[in-house]
């Protein structure tokens, strides 16, 4: 079953879409879906006051939700979902896939900050760019991403995978500062460049950067050079400098940095 939501008019204020998940819509008929209430700014509104809702049978039992349009002011798309799928044909807003446990989310445009916040499982695929704190726990908590996978085709912001414990994040574009901040486990692969300070304060886990990294924090120590490393779904060809850290945290994490993309790190070879 496929349910499509099209905004009647562009959003002017934040819209909380967290109740519209396959889990919540299961067993509802179109009337029930339309009468669901969500927060639009500080007002409670019925779904059919703001969306054109269409339901079509595609012969599958699983619920597929489609959001059509610009959702850059939306919050919490796919919040806590455990099954089914959500497709956003447009931008996705903040906290897409927060606390997600299963199922899939595909966003065709960009998403804002806190993508896959504290996610436990499932998979997220963003075709555009993502903001900061991908997979990170909400402020103040240290329970980061615990499973599942996130793939971003575009760039991503700062602190992706902060406090991450397990699962994987792959970014095809460039990332900002601090990928893998305070990471405890899991894998982050950045195919593009990193602005710097990769894996700061990491305790464990793996951060792999194929582009340039700016510089390596003084709290990391070079260990070896490896011809290739295991990525998330494929083997990545290097060679890679392998750093261990963060030493100031007694960390045992690994930071893999492509040797060809970072000629300025050659001086580390002398230390081997």
């Amino acid at each position: 079953m496929r349910i499509t939501f099209k905004p009647l008019t562009p959003f002017k204020v934040p819209v909380d879409l967290s109740p519209i998940t396959p889990d919540n819509l299961e067993g509802m008929d179109i009337g029930e879906v339309k009468s669901l209430q969500i927060w639009v700014g500080s007002k409670r509104k019925r779904i059919d006051e703001i969306f054109l809702v269409e339901l079509s049978e595609d012969g599958r039992e699983e619920i597929a939700i489609v959001f059509m349009g610009d959702f850059s002011k939306a919050r919490g798309i796919g919040s806590g979902m455990s099954r089914g799928s959500i497709t956003v044909k447009g931008s996705g807003g903040l906290r897409v896939g927060e606390y997600m446990r299963g199922g899939t989310i595909v966003v065709e445009g960009d998403v804002d900050h806190w993508l896959g916040m504290a996610m436990h499982g499932g998979s997220i695929y963003v075709k555009g760019a993502a903001g900061s704190y991908v997979g990170a726990p909400p402020k103040g908590s240290s329970k980061g991403m615990r499973g599942g996978s996130i793939i971003i085709d575009g760039d991503a912001g700062e602190c992706i995978g902060a406090y991450m414990r397990d699962g994987s994040i792959e970014v095809k574009g460039n990332v900002g500062l601090f990928p893998g901040l305070r990471m405890l486990g899991g894998t982050i692969v950045v195919y593009g460049n990193c602005m710097g300070r990769a894996a700061a304060r990491m305790k464990d886990g793996r951060v792999i950067i194929l582009g340039s990294v700016g510089s390596i924090l003084p709290t990391f120590q070079i260990e070896e050079i490896r011809p290739s490393v295991r990525g998330v779904r494929e083997r990545l060809e290097g060679p890679f400098y392998v750093f261990q850290g963060d030493l100031s945290e007694d960390g045992r994490g690994r930071l893999f940095v492509s040797k060809p993309s970072n000629p300025e790190l050659a001086f580390f070879e002398k230390l081997l």
């Binding site: 726990p137 909400p138 103040g140 908590s141 240290s142």
Partner: protein, 567 residues
């Protein structure tokens, strides 16, 4: 009409007046309990089959002030899991272990508590404490003033100028609108100013020629010179360390040696945290038996439990070095906030785990204290909110006190090894409703010297809790769940003669009163002392003497208690 209220046919527990489960009526007029009223004009609450007690009194709870706010700031994750949306009558709020101000008031009132004492407020930051207390609705409140590491007090005592120390303390209480003398790790927090601590009653405080023993004895003397309604309120040295029950007993005994028995001299607060035997954390044992034995044999000591509850909470205390030690073992968040000349503070989040050895010992020590101290008038139920757990856990604690079955249920799931080193499994004492009314109402009110609280006699404040629970029909020993549920949400809470809670929901949002002691010392004596103190005061402090006191116009609904000192 609104001010005349009749509570009809309630099953009343009022231990201070010797009422134990009698069915009777209570008449209220103009906010106080009266002999009788004209029933035709009164609003009547039908309390038949319901438990009626005085409003709860919390003797020790960290609800307001600088360190509570640090706790709130430190813990967004604590707020996200517990929030209350606004209603037509009430403000919204958040917080499981460190609730926001409005929520604090509502939650206490929902449990039938009507008077709460903020446990420790540094004088320099007492304006902050009062701003928060002003913002806490419904309940009456007061704050204890921290003095155990105050340079001026320590200097005066060590110079033998006890009268001047007393005048200074009286001025501090007046200036900051404090209620009593709080001592936190005497000397140890001053040592924390250099990153140190003191570990023994007779260890010299660095750079001061004084020992913790002299501080405690000095302030105890001052307390009686000033005729304060409450005794000194002491958080002892070595709190939260193994084998500290001996320090606790020596602290309690030192004031007896100095001033004799016969009357209350010292309140040992959150005694659970200072009731450990065993020399290391791995060999930690309960020291509750030793403490209870001593308390049973003397008449100058009172305690509050500081019960630990298995939950995620936030520890906060003026004992800066204690929080640093806690941070060293937990390695999570740690906030520290030293206060010049006076004290320190620290905040560390903690999760008390049932499975942990230490957690289980801690849980057992609090209950053992409450069950082994024979006279309930010597003990008060607290969790040292939020240190042992949030105050919202009181109904759970009550169910453990009233039912050995409830305790066994928990003991089935705690750390087995730890249980072997506590006496708890062998204790079958169960609190009665009278005992509960004592440890949650009458005893704290008496220990604090609140004459109009904690009882339902004529002339008492009409602060009353009514619970949907018939003590004649429910056996708390068996049906402890029912008791717990009823105590969580009062059927009615009456505060100052107004019905504020009905069926656990706020029906009227009124401000409570602000209580402090106004010690009547001749102004010229204070002025003379301050003239002498001023140069040093302004050398040590970063604020002028004139900007230090809490102006009275900052306080909402002031309700000072006049005290005549004997100096």
């Amino acid at each position: 009409m609104k001010d005349v209220l009749l509570i009809r046919n309630g099953v009343v527990y009022d231990p201070m007046n010797g009422v134990e489960g009698e069915v009777m009526d209570i008449a209220i007029k103009d906010g106080v309990i009266v002999e009788a009223i004209d029933e035709r004009k009164a609003k009547v609450i039908d309390a038949s089959g319901m438990l009626v007690m005085p409003g709860g009194v919390d003797i020790h709870s960290h609800i307001a002030g600088s360190k509570s706010n640090i706790g709130r700031l430190l813990r967004p994750e604590d707020h996200r899991r517990s929030y209350e949306p606004k209603t037509a009558l009430t403000c919204s709020g958040v917080g499981h272990s460190v609730p926001s101000t409005k929520t604090t008031g509502y939650r206490y009132a929902r449990m039938g508590y009507t008077t709460v004492f903020e446990a420790a407020s540094p004088p320099l930051k007492q304006k902050h404490t009062w701003e928060e207390l002003n913002d806490i609705p419904i309940i009456d409140k007061a704050a204890l003033t921290v003095m155990g590491n105050n340079w001026f007090i320590m200097d005066f005592i060590s110079q033998g100028r006890i009268e001047d120390a007393a005048i200074y303390a009286a001025w501090l209480l007046k200036a900051t609108k404090g209620y009593g003398i709080k001592i936190v790790n005497p000397g140890g927090v001053e040592a924390w100013g250099w990153g140190g601590n003191v570990y023994d009653l007779d260890e010299l405080v660095p750079y001061f020629s004084i020992t913790p023993r002299e501080i405690v004895e000095g302030l105890c003397k001052i307390n009686s010179m000033l005729n304060l309604p409450h005794t000194i309120h002491v958080h002892v040295n070595r709190l939260g360390m193994p084998n500290n029950c001996w320090t606790t007993l020596r602290t309690a005994h030192t004031v007896r040696k100095a001033f004799g028995g016969g009357k209350l001299l010292i309140h040992i607060t959150h005694c659970q945290f200072s009731g450990y035997a065993g020399s290391t954390w791995t060999t930690l044992r309960s020291g509750a038996e030793y403490i209870a034995k001593y308390v049973n044999s003397v008449d100058h000591v009172s305690l509050d439990m500081g019960q630990v509850v298995f939950t995620d909470t936030t520890t906060m205390t003026g004992d800066g070095p204690l929080e640093f030690r806690l941070f060293q073992s937990l390695a999570g968040k740690w906030a520290n906030a030293d206060v010049e000349v006076e004290t320190g503070a620290g905040v560390v989040p903690i999760r008390y785990s049932r499975r942990s050895y230490v957690g289980t010992i801690q849980w057992a020590v609090g209950l053992e204290l409450a069950l082994l101290v024979n006279d309930p008038w010597k003990i008060v139920l607290t969790t040292d909110h939020p240190n042992g757990g949030p105050f919202t856990a009181y109904p759970r604690v009550i169910s453990w006190l009233m039912s050995s079955k409830a305790r066994s249920k928990v003991m089935e799931r705690v750390n087995r090894r730890a249980l072997k080193y506590t006496a708890l499994p062998s204790i079958d004492r169960e609190y009665t409703f009278t005992d509960i009314a004592i440890v949650t109402r009458a005893s704290p009110a008496r220990l604090l010297g609140l004459k109009r609280k904690g009882h339902l006699g004529v002339g008492a404040d009409a602060d009353i809790a009514i619970y949907d629970l018939d003590p004649r029909k429910v056996d708390p020993s068996v049906d402890y769940r029912r008791v717990r549920r009823a105590l969580r949400r009062a059927a009615y809470t009456i505060k100052g003669g107004r019905i504020v809670i009905v069926k656990g929901e706020v029906v009227e949002d009124i401000p409570g009163r602000s209580i402090w002691v106004d010690v009547d010392i001749p102004e010229d004596e204070i002025e003379e002392l301050l003239r002498e103190v001023k140069p040093r005061f302004e050398e040590f402090y970063t604020v002028k003497l004139r900007n230090y006191p809490v102006p009275e116009d900052m306080i909402l609904n002031p309700s000072p208690i006049k005290i005549n000192p004997s100096i």
